[in-house]
Every structure is written in C-alpha cells, then in structure tokens.
C-alpha cells in the first residue's frame, strides 16, 4: 500500500510543506476569495489534465491539447458571440474538440503513427490556422455567458464542482470499470491487450477523442470565467498538464498512474508561482523551480524503481 502510493505520498508531503510554509509566512494565501479564484482559474487545467492522463496511461502523448483548447475556446466564443445559447456553444466546443481528437486518434490508432509527432504536427496546424482565422482578436462575449449568467460565486461553484465531479468520475471509472482496466492494459502492452480480446485501436482512438472533448469542455469552463475569449488561450497548457501528470506519478511508458496523483501534481505545480508572489520573491525563478520539481519527481521515481527491483 505504502509502496504503491509512494509517489502520491511524496507529492502530498511536498504540497503540505509548501502550504505550511505559506501558512507560517503568508497566511493571507488562505483568504477564501483569492483561494477560490485560484482554484476556479485552474479548474480548466484539471479537466485537460484528466484527458492527458488517460492518453499517457495508454502510452501515447498529446502535445496538441493546448492548441485544441484554443480552437475550442474560439469556436465556443464565435458561437456565443453569434448569439447562440450557451448549451449550443458548449456543444460546439466539445464536438470540435472531439473531432480534433478523432483526427489525432485516427492517425495514431489506425495508421500507427507515433503520437508525439502526430500531435506536434496537429498542434502547429491548429495554432496557425487559428492565427489566420482570428488574427489575435480578443473576442468580446455577450452578457449572460460569464458565470453561465449566474452570480460569480454560483459560477465559480459550478466550474469547480464540474471539474471535481469529472475528476472523481474518471478516477473511479479508471479503477473500477472494465473500460478503465482496458486502458491500463492497452497502455501496458497493446499486443497482449489485442490477444485478450480488447481492441487497442478503438481504445486509443477513444482516448484521443475523449481528450479532445475534455479539452473542449475545459475551454468552455475557461470561457465562462471572463467576458472575453483570447484566441491563444491554450498556449503552454500542454506543458503544464503533462508536467502535472508526470509529477503526479503517471509513467510516461504507459500503464501506470492515477488521477489523484495528477491532481496533487497539478496543485503542486500551479502553486509555485503564487507562492513566489506571496513570499514576495521575484518571478524569474518560476520556470527554473518548475523544471527542478519535474526533475526531482522523475529522479524520485527512478530511485524508487531501482529499489523495487532490488527487493524483488
């Protein structure tokens, strides 16, 4: 038990230490309002991280997730700005995401192309297409979109609630549904999965589609937080969520990891920056610290794995 969840425990300890330090030196960090705003603004990243986790567990990668996020945000924004009701805009975003995910999935699952290259190519393609289409216009949304037309606290509640519900549902499903087992099995050994009667192609395809759809949903959850849509809103999202998954203990070699770890990883990474601000430290250390956190996480992984082999 301890060994199985050792990564989660390490990350949780790191997170707790950070929180303790904040509590001691910058208690204002825990004021409810900024805390709520911070959580709300990171909720879309959590939803995207669910998708990327599934992708990594099935032994693929999707670096186009940020581009998908941007594209879905713009599609939702365009739909909303054209006066369509919010549900239609949501549907449009999720469908757009699913279609982009399906494109990745098709190339990866049926043509057997390496996902890192495929999604590198689609990332560039979507981003540039978006630039040609929108030319960077910050799109103003009609009233009634922000916070779903509700009050700010209700809206924040819905955003956080929805992403947490998604997280719980996926975490439960990955552990308890046969389908979740299939994802792990496919990620561990696609050929063995095939011989066990699982269709690894459909599984891989499905995970990419799902990831696209989640990126679309994440874009919507992001859109409702302000009255404007920026067409490159997803820039850098892929690095953030991949790093969160890795720090959270998802093995890049597939088949291992769980969403609770990813939640912890994400919390740790997205708190580096606020912590610097609250400790009144200059911002230019942020990237170096994030790099260090990632490296420490993998090194911990390596040392732990080394130990395991010795004990076996």
């Amino acid at each position: 038990m301890m060994r199985k969840y050792s990564r989660e425990i390490i990350v949780a300890i790191a997170l707790i230490l950070l929180m303790l330090a904040l509590a001691a030196y910058a208690p204002a960090y825990f004021d409810p309002q900024p805390l709520l705003s911070r959580f709300t603004s990171q909720a879309p990243a959590l939803v995207a991280a669910i998708g990327i986790t599934l992708v990594i567990i099935i032994r693929q990668i999707d670096i186009s997730i940020g581009a998908q996020f941007s594209m879905c945000a713009v599609v939702a924004g365009v739909a909303a700005a054209a006066g369509m009701p919010l549900p239609v805009a949501v549907l449009a975003a999720v469908l757009t995401g699913a279609v982009m995910g399906a494109f990745n999935g098709l190339l990866v699952a049926w043509l057997g192309l390496p996902s890192i290259v495929v999604t590198l190519a689609t990332m560039v393609t979507w981003n540039e297409a978006l630039r040609l289409w929108q030319q960077g216009r910050l799109m103003n949304l009609p009233a009634g979109i922000q916070w779903f037309g509700l009050s700010q606290s209700a809206g924040q509640g819905i955003v956080i609630g929805l992403s947490v519900v998604l997280l719980i549902a996926f975490a439960w499903g990955m552990r308890n549904l046969a389908l979740g087992r299939y994802v792990y099995a496919t990620g561990t050994d696609a050929e063995a999965a095939r011989l066990a009667g699982i269709n690894p192609r459909w599984m891989t395809f499905g995970v990419f589609v799902l990831t696209g759809a989640l990126a679309g949903l994440a874009a919507v959850l992001n859109m409702v937080q302000s009255p404007q849509v920026q067409p490159n809103a997803g820039d850098g999202l892929e690095l953030k969520v991949i790093a969160a998954a890795v720090v959270g203990g998802v093995a890049i070699t597939g088949g291992r990891g769980n969403l609770w770890g990813v939640l912890l990883g994400l919390l740790l990474l997205v708190n580096v920056n606020p912590a610097l601000t609250y400790f009144h430290q200059p911002p230019y250390w942020e990237r170096a610290i994030q790099g260090l956190v990632i490296l420490l996480a993998v090194v911990a992984d390596g040392l732990q794995r080394g130990k395991k082999v010795k004990h076996a």
Binding site: N176, L177, A178, L179, R181, Y182, Y184, A185, T188, D189, E191, A192, A193, R194, L195, A196, G197, I198, N199, G255, R256, K310, A312
Partner: protein, 484 residues
C-alpha cells in the same frame, strides 16, 4: 512470402491434436489464424456449426477458443488476479469490476494448475515459467472448448511439465479439444492422439500418433533422416579455464557457488526453474555483479561489472531470452553477428563494412543459417535460425568460455542436432562450455560433467553419463547418491 499455403486442419472434441514441424514451418502462424490474431488471405474456419472467413481475438474468444502463446501475453503492471480477470469472459466495457470474486477465481485456477503464486503479485515480478503457468490458468478459466498451446513446455522444467500434462489430460477428459505444439517428440507421444505435420507452410499429413514411430515423425517433418544421437566427447579436457570459489550474489539469489570448467569440456547445468542457473550466468557475464566470492579465469581472479568487461576477459553468453537479449530483429544479420566484436573488428571505431560482411558470410555458411544474405534483418529468420545468429555473435568473439543458456529452446530437431554438433565441435577446439538447459536428455547427452542447481546453490556435480534419476533427485533436493 507466404507463411501458410492451403493448410487443412481439424480438431475433434476430447482430443489432443499435436502440430509438428521445423522452425518456421508455420505452426505459430496457423494458430494465430485460428485465434484471430492474424486474418487469413483465403479459406474458411469452421467452429462448431459456424463457418467464418476470419476472426478477431475477441470473436475467437466468444467462440470458446483459448490460447497460450509462445510468448506470454500478460500485462506486467497488473496483478495476477487482474490479468486472469481480463482474460476470462470479457466484461462489458461499462460494467463494474468485482475485485473479490475475481481474486477468488484466480486463487482457484492457480490451484488447479498447481502454481504457488500470489494472486496479488504484479506479473512483472514473476519468472517466465510462472507467467506461463498464469497463462495456462487463464486458458483453463475461460471454459474454452478449444485450447491451443504453443510450446507451453519450452520454459518449464520437469515439475511444471508434469503439472501441465495433468491439466491437458483433464481437459481432454472433459471433452475439450487441445491443439498442442512442441518440438519435444516425447511429449507428443505422451499426450497427443493425432498429429498434423507442417513443412514450409504446407500440411504434409495428419496421422494417429500410435501409427507413427519417432523416426517416422522426424522424417515427415524434415523430409530426411536425422541422427538423434548426441555427438560423442573426444579426448581429455585441458587446463581449468573457469573456477568459481564461494561466489554469492544476494540480488540474484545465488550463494556459495564452487565450480570448475576446463578447456574442451562441456559442463551441463541442470535444475528446476528458478534454481538460479540463469542468474549464475548473469553474474559470470557481469550483468548482476557478485557480492562475494571469486571468479578465476585461467587462474587469475577477475571482477566483472559489465558484459563489456566479461567479453574482454573471453567470456561469451548466449542468452535465454533470444528476442529481448539475443538477436535484434530489426538489424541485419551481419550487424547482429558483429555486435560483440566492435573493438576488434573495427579498430579506431571506423566501420569496415567489407570485413563485416565477410565475417557474417562465414558464419552463415558454417552454421547453415537459412537466409538470403547477411543484409537480411534478423526478424526475417525463424526461431532456430535466429538462435544460430545469436551463437554466431558469440563465436565471433573467439571466447575462452562459452555460456549457453537454453541453447535449443524451441528449436526444431533438425536445427537442434546441428547446434549440438556445433557445440561439440567448439569443445573439441578447446573451448570451455557451460551449457544451461532444462531439456534433460540434452543435458545428459551433451555434458561431460553435470552440475545440478537448486535454490541458488550447486547441490551436486555428476559425471557425464549420469542417470536421469540422480539428476532429478539432486534438482528436487531429495537425498540421492551425491558425487562431489
């Protein structure tokens, strides 16, 4: 290239039907077609009353076909129980996994195959034969009408083999049709009712086993007579090449090994699976360095920290797991053969492709590797020929000590006797040979001396023509007539 041409094959309920053929004859391919792993270009399959053009693995399973592949197809990150659960009746994607009942089922099945494996162990921690046993448990548990076994005994030792035979006989008794592939003819005589022989992807006939003699069977397989006699030893062994004194390694589970191997001598290593023979070889080859004890090579104490050092000291190791450690399937045969001799063949690190090709051609000719040329990728060869490439790589290093780990595992009789001839020839040229094998007749027939291991130590060293019973007794840890 066609792997199969117009093969017809039928299986009755309650029979054990053996498939026989040389390496690369198409046996594995045929069963892959039956299990839906490959789809056939033409022809039909009939399962019960249903006629099909092709199958998917899922469909095959629904029809009651279960298969134990040559390579275990398990998921190393999942536990034994989870693996078994996945391989049994496929649950609906959105159904909830019932952990408790799954675990209980795993315990029952493992008991039925007589395996002492925890259902909660991750498969990555299991040894190869243990994994094979889990595979067998999966096949049993699926309640299949047809069970296919592709060389299930290749990595099993005597004890597990007996368990397996029991399982096969149970299956037959309960009306299940069993397809059984093996290169060990004695198993076929012990188990099978009928045998279909494949040669070059074509069926050369189906016969009742009781109508055939061993030599007739071999003749069907290879289309010629093969001497099944082991090549005899000649002359006296020379000075001691390898001497081990109290060699121990906690990580590999090996302790207090004392052994000597002399030039021109073949020392066989017998033992049950998990006895630590491969681990000993890995220590000698510098893969898992020893904690204590001495390795003396030609009288000099040496320390081995990596295969590189071992090679430099004149040790060669033909590994057990050919696919993972032996031959790189994507690389040309020539590149495979020269891999261990880079420093000697390419001084100053510059490649010399001419000398490389000619070296490879020499080995292709000398060992009779069936291929169209040194540039053919390793993966284009059949298992037996891949094994010859693996041996060639190590002969190219001109070693003083050659360690062979299961040298004829899954190799057909023709190739097997050829490999035996090669090994004996090398010994005659003064090489010291340490041969690990789970094939008891092979150990008995080939060895000048036999070391038997059990639980990480050498329990007996017996002379060449020892009695099979003595070897087994030492391997099982029963008090036998021990000869030091």
């Amino acid at each position: 290239m066609r792997a199969l041409k117009g093969v017809s094959f039928d299986l009755a309920a309650g029979e054990v039907h053996a498939l026989l053929g040389e390496n690369g004859a198409g046996k594995s391919t045929l069963i892959k077609v039956i299990t839906g792993a490959h789809s056939p270009d033409e022809g039909t399959l009939k399962v019960g009353d249903e006629t099909l053009r092709s199958l998917t693995p899922a469909h095959a399973r629904a029809l009651g076909i279960a298969c134990i592949y040559q390579q275990p197809a398990l998921f190393p990150d999942l536990t034994v129980a989870e693996n078994i659960g996945l391989r049994l009746k496929k649950p609906k994607p959105f159904s909830v996994v019932k952990r408790g009942s799954q675990r209980q089922m795993a315990i029952d099945l493992l008991k039925r195959v007589g395996a002492e494996i925890s259902p909660d162990a991750e498969v990555r921690e299991l040894s190869m034969p243990e994994q094979q046993l889990v595979e067998i448990a999966c096949a049993l548990g699926s309640g299949a009408k047809i069970v296919i076994m592709d060389e299930p005994t290749a990595s099993l030792t005597q004890k597990e083999q007996h368990l397996l035979f029991g399982v096969v006989k149970d299956l037959r008794a309960s009306g299940v049709g069993v397809v059984y592939i093996s290169h060990r003819l004695e198993e076929i005589f012990a188990l099978a009712d009928r045998v279909t022989v494949l040669r070059d992807g074509e069926s050369v006939g189906t016969h009742a086993v009781k109508d055939l003699t061993e030599s007739a069977m071999i003749k069907l397989m290879v289309g010629r007579e093969v001497a099944t006699l082991y090549p005899p030893a000649e002359g006296e062994p020379g000075e001691t090449v390898l001497s081990l004194k109290g060699l121990s390694c906690a990580e590999g589970g090996v302790q207090g090994i004392n052994l000597e191997v002399r030039a021109g001598e073949i020392v066989g290593m017998a033992g049950l699976v998990g006895a630590g023979r491969t681990e000993l070889a890995r220590i000698l080859f510098g893969i898992t360095p020893a904690d204590s004890g001495e390795i003396l090579l030609g009288g000099k104490a040496v320390k081995m920290h990596s295969p590189r050092e071992a090679i430099a000291q004149g040790i060669a190791y033909v590994p057990e797991d050919r696919r993972r450690h032996g031959v790189i399937l994507e690389m040309p045969i020539a590149h495979n053969i020269t891999m261990a001799v880079h420093p000697r063949l390419f001084p100053g690190t510059w490649l010399r492709k001419k000398s490389e090709t000619s070296l490879a051609e020499d080995f292709i000719r000398d060992l009779g590797i069936k291929t169209y040329g040194p540039e053919a990728p390793g993966g284009s060869l059949s298992g037996g020929n891949q094994q010859k490439v693996s041996v060639s790589r190590w002969l190219a290093t001109k070693p003083k000590l050659l360690i062979l780990d299961e040298p004829t595992q899954g190799v057909d009789v023709g190739a097997k006797s050829e490999i035996h001839r090669i090994i004996r020839g090398l010994a005659k040229e003064g090489l010291a040979v340490l041969m690990i094998s789970s094939d008891l007749p092979e150990v008995l027939g080939m060895s000048d001396r036999i070391a038997v291991m059990r639980g990480g130590t050498i329990t007996a060293v017996l002379p060449g023509g020892a009695d099979a019973h003595d070897v087994m007794a030492a391997a099982l840890g029963q008090s036998g007539r021990e000869v030091a």
